[in-house]
């Protein structure tokens, strides 16, 4: 093979290396800082502009720093925070941020690992400040959204003050729970609360039972009383009817009736045969006993 051919090949290789070193593709997910001898000179596809594509740089002299342009998450380590009403809460939060000023980010933080190290304390101090000013019940329930909004505002200010080149998009509290020791207290309270409810349910049952029993007893008494009243009336009616019958028949001759009835009474009264009678021979019965022929 000839020397010329080798030169062609060599030249082509050099050209390729130079091309590789000067041409680069910027994805739209990325933002790229072109650094010339350690000094950022320009940003390609920066936030707020849409400029991905095939780009040029000076080979060997200019280097690239590729940063993410997307919204990304950062978890804050779990932290125990004391609320305004002295309750301890275990708080777990995350932020979502994007790199809004790549040059500032590159100058202060260099890369995402450092960014995480710097941001996590910021998140914690924001949470401490904002949650420390709210009561536990506000954090847990009533004003959770407001508390998160306040914390977001606070961390945004802190990030801006530190010139991190970061825009915090959102801060959200994941967990805001009681530490284990306090959980036991909550369980105790829940249990006693439930026991109270159970006792009340039973007491109401007992009350219903007594009410029903009392009502039943009342009904019994009333029923019997009504029956007795009716019975008296019935008996009275019978007595009245019999009196009327007696009156209507005996009334025909009162003297005879009295006589007749008395005779019946005597018969009935001495029917048992246990009576010893002491009689005078003068009595009417013995009228003929002494002087047979009679008067």
């Amino acid at each position: 093979m000839s020397r010329r051919a080798w030169m062609w090949i060599g030249g082509g290789l050099v050209a390729l290396i130079i091309a590789f070193n000067s041409l680069f593709i910027v994805d739209q997910r990325q933002q790229v800082i072109v650094v010339k001898l350690g000094e950022p000179v320009r940003v390609i596809n920066p936030p707020g502009a849409y400029d991905p594509g095939l780009k040029l740089k000076i080979p060997l002299i200019e280097n690239l720093v590729v940063l993410d342009k997307r919204n990304q998450a950062l978890e804050a380590p779990q932290e125990e925070i004391i609320s305004a009403d002295q309750q301890r809460l275990v708080v777990d939060a995350f932020i979502r941020y994007r790199i809004s000023n790549p040059v500032a980010f590159y100058r202060t933080l260099r890369d995402e690992a450092v960014a995480a190290d710097r941001l996590q304390p910021l998140i914690n101090s924001s949470l401490r400040q904002v949650l420390g000013a709210a009561t536990a019940s506000q954090i847990i329930s009533s004003q959770r959204a407001e508390v998160m909004a306040n914390a977001l505002g606070d961390i945004r200010r802190r990030a801006a003050r530190s010139h991190l080149g970061i825009e915090v998009v959102d801060l959200r509290i994941k967990r805001a729970d009681l530490p284990t020791a306090n959980q036991q207290a909550v369980y105790r309270r829940m249990r006693s609360n439930l026991q109270q409810q159970a006792a009340q349910i039973r007491a109401i049952g007992e009350q219903n039972r007594l009410e029903v029993v009392a009502d039943a007893d009342k009904q019994v008494t009333i029923t019997l009383a009504n029956a007795t009243a009716q019975a008296f009336a019935t008996r009275g009616a019978g007595d009245a009817e019999s009196a009327k019958i007696f009156a209507s028949s005996f009334g025909k001759d009162a003297r005879f009736a009295a006589f007749y009835r008395s005779l019946q009474a005597y018969e009935g009264a001495f029917d048992d045969g246990q009576t010893t009678m002491v009689l005078s021979p003068d009595s009417d019965f013995f009228k003929y006993f002494k002087n047979g022929g009679g008067r």
């Binding site: 093979m1 998450a73 019940s137 329930s141 959980q183 369980y187 409810q197 019978g238 002491v278 005078s280």
Partner: protein, 390 residues
């Protein structure tokens, strides 16, 4: 298919030796025997390298210097041509039925295409990234059955109770480009947002509705809140459903909850007992009442009938009496006295002119059954204080 390899990270695609590290060792040291040919600088897939190796074998057979001029021209033109042709082929790609391909040209978004066989400009220029858009994704929070995650599942309710709650989120990618370009870790974001949203919603609710009939409300609110947050992030994700799998009171208070259920049963049984008692007693009372009134009614009828009978008897006697009053009267009297006296013991005392009390023998008062009593006491001279004796 190597020409469809979209994970290719380098700006120019990878040089062939990096593309397939398994073969890189052999290619990195070309066989020494053939004359040195220019290495294939433009990128190509592994099938290119197969082709190349076969060419090398042929060259080796021909031995350096003896190859004809035609052959050389064929090599100089044919090899780059074949490489170029293969490179052009890398633009073919298939999109599966459940996917959408997002096409970028030099990293910039140019469009999305649906399922089928498609072509884009070859690899470094254009790339296709597949996103499974019709897949239902499922994110589980709070642990699955058998794999509890109390850190995720235990949360505080609005009335400061603790509930153990696990749920799943079903979601799909609704905007493939946003899903790829706007947010770095969409799957993790969905989970983190789900946790945060569920805790916020549960924090607004009391415990009892979460355990009983308020689940649907909690699910809906969480879904709406999640969707709002993810839309804020432009995540390109649509939440289809939030489904609470389990919502229980924590284990520590479950016995107390069971006791509540038992208390309800107890209360019900108290009431049942009382109803049983009432039914029994009231019905008994009705029976008794009926007995009383019936007895009274019986008495009434009995009295009336008796009266009627008496009256009839009297009337009959009276009718005879009217016919002969004196005789009847006398007869009745004597007859009655006979009946009376025949059954009784009798002491007849003639007290006329008696001055001292008459002492009757005690036998006179003995019950009649002794039977040897009571002839008349012969005490003619005695007063008769009968009442006193009796």
């Amino acid at each position: 298919m190597p020409w469809n390899d979209n994970a290719n990270p380098g700006p120019w695609g990878s040089p062939p030796s990096n593309d397939s590290p398994g073969r890189g060792g052999r290619d990195a040291q070309p066989p020494p025997t053939p004359p040195r040919r220019p290495p294939p600088s433009p990128p190509g897939g592994p099938d290119l390298r197969d082709l190349l190796r076969r060419l090398m074998d042929e060259l080796r057979g021909l031995a350096g210097g003896y190859a004809s001029r035609d052959m050389r021209r064929w090599i100089y033109v044919g090899i780059p041509g074949a490489i170029f042709f293969a490179w052009i082929l890398t633009g073919f790609y298939t999109v599966q039925a459940n996917e959408e391909a997002v096409i970028t040209r030099f990293g910039g978004y140019v469009g999305s295409v649906g399922p089928g066989l498609h072509y884009h400009l070859p690899i470094p220029i254009e790339k296709a990234e597949m996103v499974a858009v019709t897949n239902q994704n499922k994110t589980v929070v709070g642990g699955a059955p058998g794999a509890p995650a109390p850190d995720e599942s235990q949360m505080l309710t609005g009335d400061e109770n603790i509930v153990d709650l696990s749920f799943t989120v079903q979601w799909h990618v609704s905007d493939a480009a946003a899903y790829l370009f706007r947010i770095r870790d969409p799957n993790d974001a969905v989970k983190a947002v789900a946790e945060s949203a569920m805790r916020e919603v549960v924090g607004h609710s009391a415990l009892t509705p979460i355990l009983t009939n308020g689940r649907g409300e909690v699910q809906n609110q969480t879904l709406v809140l999640m969707q709002r947050i993810l839309d804020d992030y432009h995540a390109g994700v649509t939440i289809d459903a939030v489904q609470i799998q389990n919502a229980n009171p924590p284990d520590e208070v479950v016995p107390a909850y069971q006791d509540i259920a038992r208390a309800g049963q107890d209360a019900q049984s108290y009431i049942n007992e009382a109803n049983t008692y009432r039914n029994r007693v009231v019905n008994e009372a009705k029976g008794t009442a009926s007995k009383i009134t019936q007895a009274a009614e019986g008495y009434r009828q009995q009295t009336i009938l008796e009266a009627q009978g008496q009256a009839a008897r009297f009337n009959q006697v009276y009718a005879q009496y009217r016919l002969a009053p004196a005789v009847t009267r006398e007869r009745l009297y004597i007859q009655t006295m006979q009946t009376v006296l025949s059954k009784s013991k009798k002491v007849i005392v003639d007290a006329k002119g008696a001055t001292a009390p008459i002492i009757l023998p005690p036998d006179a008062f003995r019950p009649k059954s002794s039977d040897n009593a009571a002839p008349a006491a012969p005490a003619p001279a005695a007063a008769a204080p009968q009442e006193g004796q009796q």
